[in-house]
């Protein structure tokens, strides 16, 4: 079942104006740990500690400062910050459409489902058009005091809204300044053959979150007072550059 409605708004572009309800599409479950004091297992709390007094400072005595130079701050009041929040217009404004495959996965943040809130025919028409044209709408909207950039897409018969990261939040791969190495055609050919051999269809259901289950087992074992065998992590020996072709060929032989 999809998550509950978390927001309502309208998809708008051209003559289209469709009321929709936003639902969460992702739900992460993870085992939670708490931090304890070693000697008596008292649960520790995270607190804001004054660097000068070394004592916790309650929320009402905290101020937000922007550091203009070392140790010098501009104080910004919560009310001033509140005023920078975008006005919630309830409109998901589509600015343009792009081919879905053009969207760089590095920009994708979080997915939501959009349920039609009346005007079903128009909704279905938009789903059909986007699907046939393999298009996604690039849109902006304001929700929960923040402005969002997103991609409007279809997922079968339903619309999905994926929030996108802003460009200056994505670090460009070019800034990593990686050195180029020359490779022989032979190496590339054997490499491609190997990858072809190892290719399978994408079936995410094959991969369970076994780690959570193992962690749960570990916790239960410990709770029963059983001893836990500690295993050392394994680090593989890197393939030496002059042995690369040899390793590729041996791999190919193994899988072929």
């Amino acid at each position: 079942m999809a998550g509950g409605t978390i927001w309502k708004g309208f998809i708008r572009f051209g003559d289209t104006n469709l009321p929709v309800k936003l639902h969460t599409a992702i739900r992460e479950e993870r085992i939670q740990f708490h931090l304890l004091h070693k000697r008596d297992h008292v649960k520790l709390r995270q607190q804001m500690i004054c660097a000068y007094e070394k004592k916790p400072v309650p929320t009402e005595a905290q101020a937000r400062g922007f550091e203009v130079e070392e140790g010098k701050y501009i104080i910004v009041d919560p009310e001033e910050l509140d005023q920078t929040a975008p006005e919630s217009t309830r409109v998901i404004e589509v600015h343009e459409f792009v081919r879905t495959e053009q969207i760089d996965p590095l920009f994708l943040d979080r997915a939501y489902y959009l349920e039609p809130d009346s005007h079903l025919k128009g909704y279905n028409a938009l789903v059909g058009a986007l699907e046939e044209m393999d298009a996604a709408g690039i849109c902006t909207w304001a929700m929960r005091k923040r402005g969002y950039l997103g991609a409007l897409q279809t997922d079968g018969r339903i619309l999905r809204l994926n929030t996108l990261r802003y460009t200056d939040e994505v670090i460009s791969a070019k800034s990593l300044d990686l050195e180029k190495m020359s490779l022989s055609e032979k190496e590339l050919k054997v490499g491609s053959d190997l990858i072809d051999q190892l290719t399978a269809p994408f079936e995410p259901q094959k991969f369970e979150n076994e780690h959570q289950k193992k962690l749960q087992d570990l916790i239960e074992k410990k709770a029963r007072g059983e001893k836990i065998a500690v295993l050392r992590p394994r680090r593989l020996k890197p393939t030496a550059p002059d042995k690369l072709l040899q390793a590729l060929e041996a791999s190919l032989k193994k899988v072929a």
Binding site: G4, R27, E60, S88, R144
Partner: protein, 301 residues
């Protein structure tokens, strides 16, 4: 550690440490707490329903340390209802919804003496069901001063054709709620409105009222905290126990009752204890029901 397995509505729940005294100077154990919430359940559950619960847990009792837990603990029973929420700052998280008796019993087994909930439901996090004025007395002021402010506030609101409901905070203050229950009214609206009201109260009663949070301004005055009208804030739920020396409840009062009590000059008379809370709720019904059902529009916005 003692354990007891109970079955509620066909669901099994293991209760632990029932004999632990969580209000030691009064003598009120976890068993007493579970019993209080079991008996008050028909009244408190409608007010908790579909709201993201913030647990305020006192594992070692009210005299020791507590901690807040906004996320629903991952060791919850599989039948416990949850919802996904996105806070203004931060990541999406899973929260507990206390919609039935068994979940209420489960969170109380975690020693979550106080139950805090937002003014909006998880399905519509930006539309509060009510607007609140949190009246908090500063040093040298008390709940009777809050009562004076609450009565003026009630009169002012009723001149604007707005009905309001009152409850004790269970600590030193009073909470005035204005039912809204309209999906068009947002926190932006309630914030704007409540701030204007608080300011006019301060301008007209400068010796009694302040809207400034800083301690030095609050001396001998009642602080009207309008900023609770925010999606990220929570209020202690009506009928929740409070972690004071004694098991006092945040309890609804009729306005007439407040008028009577305010004249008597005994601040303790305004406080409602656990046993009295159950008795009175059973007799008079839910005095806070209007907060959930009455539809009102904020004028002049």
């Amino acid at each position: 550690m003692s354990r007891k397995v109970v079955e509620i509505a066909g669901r099994r729940l293991s209760l632990s440490n029932l004999e632990k005294d969580l209000y030691p100077s009064y003598g009120f154990t976890k068993a007493h707490i579970l019993e209080y919430y079991r008996r008050i359940a028909p009244f408190i559950l409608p007010h908790l329903r579909d709201r993201a619960l913030t647990l305020k847990r006192y594992p070692e009792g009210v005299e020791k340390d507590f901690f807040f837990e906004k996320r629903c603990p991952s060791h919850r029973p599989e039948w416990a209802k949850t919802a996904e929420v996105i806070p203004d700052e931060g990541e999406q998280m899973t929260v507990c919804l206390v919609n039935d008796l068994e979940t209420l019993m489960w969170v109380e087994n975690l020693a979550s003496l106080e139950l805090h909930v937002p003014l909006a439901r998880t399905g519509s996090p930006e539309t509060p069901d009510s607007m609140v004025f949190d009246l908090d007395p500063g040093d040298q002021a008390n709940i009777l001063d809050c009562a004076r402010v609450a009565l003026i506030l009630r009169d002012l609101l009723s001149r604007l054709r707005l009905a309001s409901c009152l409850k004790t905070s269970g600590k030193k203050g009073l909470h005035v709620y204005v039912p809204l229950n309209r999906k068009e009214t947002t926190f932006e609206d309630t914030k704007k409105f409540s701030r204007a009201v608080a300011k006019i109260m301060q301008n007209n009663y400068p010796d009694l009222v302040t809207v400034k949070m800083a301690k030095e301004y609050r001396k001998a005055k009642v602080f009207i905290n309008w900023s609770q009208n925010d999606s990220s804030k929570t209020m202690v739920c009506v009928y929740s126990l409070r972690a004071r020396e004694k098991p006092v409840v945040s309890f609804p009062l009729a306005w007439r009752e407040l008028e009577n009590l305010a004249g008597k000059g005994d601040p303790e008379k305004l406080q409602v204890m656990h046993s009295e809370a159950v008795r009175r709720a059973k007799k008079q019904g839910d005095l806070f029901r209007e907060v959930l059902v009455k539809k009102q529009r904020l004028p002049h916005l």
